[in-house]
């Protein structure tokens, strides 16, 4: 059913259709609207049988999900930013135990300095946690990816994060087609756990594993993700059959057939990039887009294939490997090893810095002219950066960095661009 609906609400409705049995909720912006809506659905009896548990921390949220999943229940939670870091130990544990928990990450920056706005630092910090990570471009895709995620997680018995840009998607009202319960039931069978805590058949889960077996257990986690590379396109194809929509998959290309320059990105910024690319194409530029939906597992082969016929690529990412540069860019470069392509990285949109079409135009033109340094920081205010660097050169007690920058920037509340 077509609805004009807030992204969080749409995702909550999709989760409800997936019949989760245990939902753990802890408030953190910008995922709060999702669990609030689910809480209401459970309390009103609309979503039943389901246990909605208000936990005392994200660490507990993931721990409760671990217990519920190990006991055979379909478990769901949502988090963002500091919350994801606070639960990090349990995040690794859930995947280590092979528990198919689905978690929405409403992507948000990580402090300090504290910042509630969107970037991808949070889920990318859990890159190696063993969780799969799928990135939604639109709220429609966020809805669809959640439905596919339960299926994928449970078939592989591995957990998944569905990542959607905080505020930009979670708080955006847009048109979303919410499937019917019958459609979702036909796509997503009830949860059949591979391991379950059951007094009728007692098992021990979570034993200590020494050097003699640990590598094999870790390898199998990797093997599962390699299986996911096969399964994700299959599930997307089956999804299309049933729901009549292209959603999910490993990567999505746009105008790359004859493209000399390909822009690579994840999440909602792909929309702004596509609009920019349309405008540049109208002016005769041979430029295209590669969207990465599955960040983990990383589709090396599909990325390589998409890029082989271009001359250069630019990875625009909302994350920063401090001391190195790009995070997604590293994986992309790995994918095109030996292909002789020019590759650039643009760090953009950190902490919710708006990514403007005007800035993208300028950036993409410089990429086309091969006039970019290896790593670019889009719309960075070099004046305040240099001022602070000078301050640190001349004064020992130069004070807190963030507060100095705010002082140099002036009143920020008066700006809205």
């Amino acid at each position: 059913m077509l609805k004009q609906i807030e992204g969080s609400k749409a995702v909550a409705e999709a989760i409800g259709l997936c019949r989760p049995e245990v939902i753990c909720a802890y408030p953190i912006s910008p995922q709060t609207h999702i669990v609030e809506a689910l809480g209401e659905m459970v309390k009103s009896g609309e979503l039943t049988p389901c246990e909605f548990i208000n936990v005392e921390s994200e660490f507990a949220a993931m721990s409760v999900a671990i217990g519920a999943s190990a006991a055979g229940a379909r478990a769901y939670t949502a988090t963002a930013s500091q919350g994801l870091l606070f639960m990090a130990e349990a995040v690794y544990n859930a995947s280590g135990l092979g528990l198919p928990i689905v978690m929405t990450v409403a992507n948000r920056a990580i402090g300090a300095p504290i910042n509630i706005w969107n970037d991808h630092s949070d889920s990318l910090s859990q890159r190696d946690s063993g969780w799969m990570q799928l990135f939604a471009e639109t709220n429609q895709e966020a809805v669809d990816l959640h439905i596919q995620a339960f299926r994928l997680a449970e078939e592989l018995s591995m957990p998944i994060m569905v990542c959607m840009d905080g505020f930009i998607l979670t708080h955006a009202f847009e048109r979303v087609d919410i499937p019917s319960q019958q459609q979702v039931d036909a796509y997503l069978p009830p949860f059949e756990p591979r391991q379950v805590l059951d007094p009728a058949e007692p098992v021990s889960i979570g034993a200590m594993v020494g050097p003699e077996a640990f590598m094999e257990v870790r390898y199998l986690a990797h093997a599962k993700q390699m299986q996911a590379l096969e399964l994700i396109p299959q599930l997307a194809a089956e999804f299309k059959e049933r729901f009549n929509r292209d959603s999910g998959g490993l990567v999505r290309t746009y105008c790359i057939e004859d493209a000399e320059t390909v822009i690579i990105a994840m999440g909602s910024v792909l929309g702004t990039i596509k609009d920019t690319v349309d405008e540049m194409r109208a002016e005769g530029h041979k430029i295209g887009v590669l969207g990465i939906i599955s960040y983990r597992p990383f589709p090396l082969e599909q990325v390589r294939r998409a890029l082989l016929s271009c001359r250069r690529f630019l990875v625009l990412e909302k994350s920063l490997a401090v001391g190195m540069g790009g995070i997604v860019a590293t994986d992309v470069r790995m994918a095109v090893t030996g292909a002789g392509l020019k590759g650039y990285t643009a760090i953009a949109g950190l902490g919710g810095r708006p990514i403007l079409k005007s800035s993208l135009h300028a950036l993409f033109r410089r990429a086309q002219a091969e006039a970019l340094p290896p790593v670019t920081f889009l719309d960075l205010d070099w004046d305040v950066v240099n001022k602070q660097l000078a301050r640190e050169r001349t004064t020992r007690r130069s004070g807190p960095v963030a507060e100095n920058i705010l002082y140099d920037k002036g009143i920020v509340s008066a700006k809205f661009g």
């Binding site: 005392e56 409760v64 200590m208």
Partner: protein, 352 residues
């Protein structure tokens, strides 16, 4: 299946077996039909109080749940010695997730049982004092506050023994650990720190809180079985001496637990909804010194340069417990009380 006869020797009123009692008054451990939830062959140290306490408690919980029990375990000695991969001592469904989340994992299991309508399946969470009073405290308090249907059992051996005997918030003042060395002006752990988790549990107003020691088997069993008759959050704090960490003889584990109780150092009581409803009285009061002296972790208080003033301070703490919980004065024998409770309980359980 082979049957190994278990021999019990009558050495006093409180020891295992009580073969002078009528069969229905005997402890579960003396019943060959007990569940043996932690099978033999685990890797605990000789004389491990925690292994003993866990065996007593989980067997009683299994009986109280008619065999329908799932356990969540915090990281620690109990977890490590019971599941050396690929072997497991556990004869019930058991999960270990992390050091600090046993209570939350148990909450998740209980939620799954509820949502699946498996109302007969009960859930127990267990951990050592580190996993309970320190790193798992947030999850524990959350579980209490939500009154989740979980029995949490803490096996308190007063320190981080698994990692090599470091101080926890359950380590007593003056005790030597690897992080409270016996050097400086105030050797050993400092006074005025630590937390009393049974009382904090009571402050949550949960249906049932109790303390017990491995020296009083039937009292321990009674408390676990009573806890299993109640729904909601429950907490049992079991005092389990650690021969390795305390520097005591491995055949002295039960004696050390008894001395802790008889000196007033460890008060044994139970509470419902935040109110103390029963205490196990001291039968033969002993000075705290008698409890401290056999332990190498307190050796610096004795010997060539003794610290009688420190022993006196520890005595004051015990005296405060005795006053606070009314551990003296009563002439009713505590064992008789426990016996009486157990009899009532069995009647209420339908003569099981």
């Amino acid at each position: 299946m082979g049957f190994q006869p278990v021999k019990f020797y009558q050495t006093g009123t409180f020891t295992v077996g009580n073969r002078l009692l009528t069969p229905d008054e005997r402890s579960l451990q003396s019943d060959k039909g007990r569940s043996n939830s932690i099978n033999s062959g685990h890797r605990a140290c000789q004389g491990c109080g925690e292994a003993l306490g866990a065996r007593y408690a989980i067997d009683a919980a299994v009986a109280g749940s008619h065999g329908q029990l799932i356990a969540a375990n915090a990281t620690g000695c109990l977890e490590v010695f019971s599941t050396p991969y690929p072997e497991s001592s556990w004869q019930l469904p058991w999960i270990h997730s992390l050091f600090g989340n046993a209570a939350a994992v148990a909450t998740g299991i209980a939620a799954a049982m509820k949502v699946k309508g498996k109302t007969s399946v009960r859930v127990v969470a267990q951990g050592g004092d580190g996993g309970t009073t320190d790193i798992g405290f947030g999850c524990l308090s959350g579980m209490f506050e939500r009154n989740d249907d979980v029995l949490y059992i803490c096996y308190d051996n007063q320190g981080y023994m698994n990692t090599g005997v470091q101080r926890s918030s359950a380590t007593p003042p003056a005790a030597r650990t690897a992080t409270t060395m016996t050097v400086g002006k105030e050797p050993g752990n400092v006074f005025g720190q630590g937390k009393n988790v049974p009382e904090i549990a009571m402050a949550h107003g949960i249906p049932y809180v109790a303390t017990a020691t491995v020296a009083d088997l039937r009292d321990l069993e009674y408390k676990v079985r009573k806890a299993m008759t109640v729904h909601g959050a429950r907490y049992i704090h079991i005092f389990v001496p650690c021969p390795l960490g305390w520097g005591t003889a491995s055949n002295d584990t039960i004696r050390m637990a008894r001395l802790a109780k008889e000196s007033g150092t460890f008060p044994v009581f139970e509470a419902e909804y935040g109110e103390v409803t029963g205490v196990l009285k001291i039968r033969h009061q002993i000075p705290v010194e008698d409890y401290l002296r056999p332990q190498k972790r307190f050796a610096h208080l004795f010997g060539e340069h003794p610290h009688p003033e420190t022993i006196a301070r520890l005595q004051l703490l015990a005296d405060r417990n005795i006053r606070k919980y009314g551990l003296l004065n009563g002439h009713a024998a505590a064992a008789d009380e426990a016996n009486e409770h157990l009899r009532e309980l069995r009647i209420s359980e339908g003569g099981n």
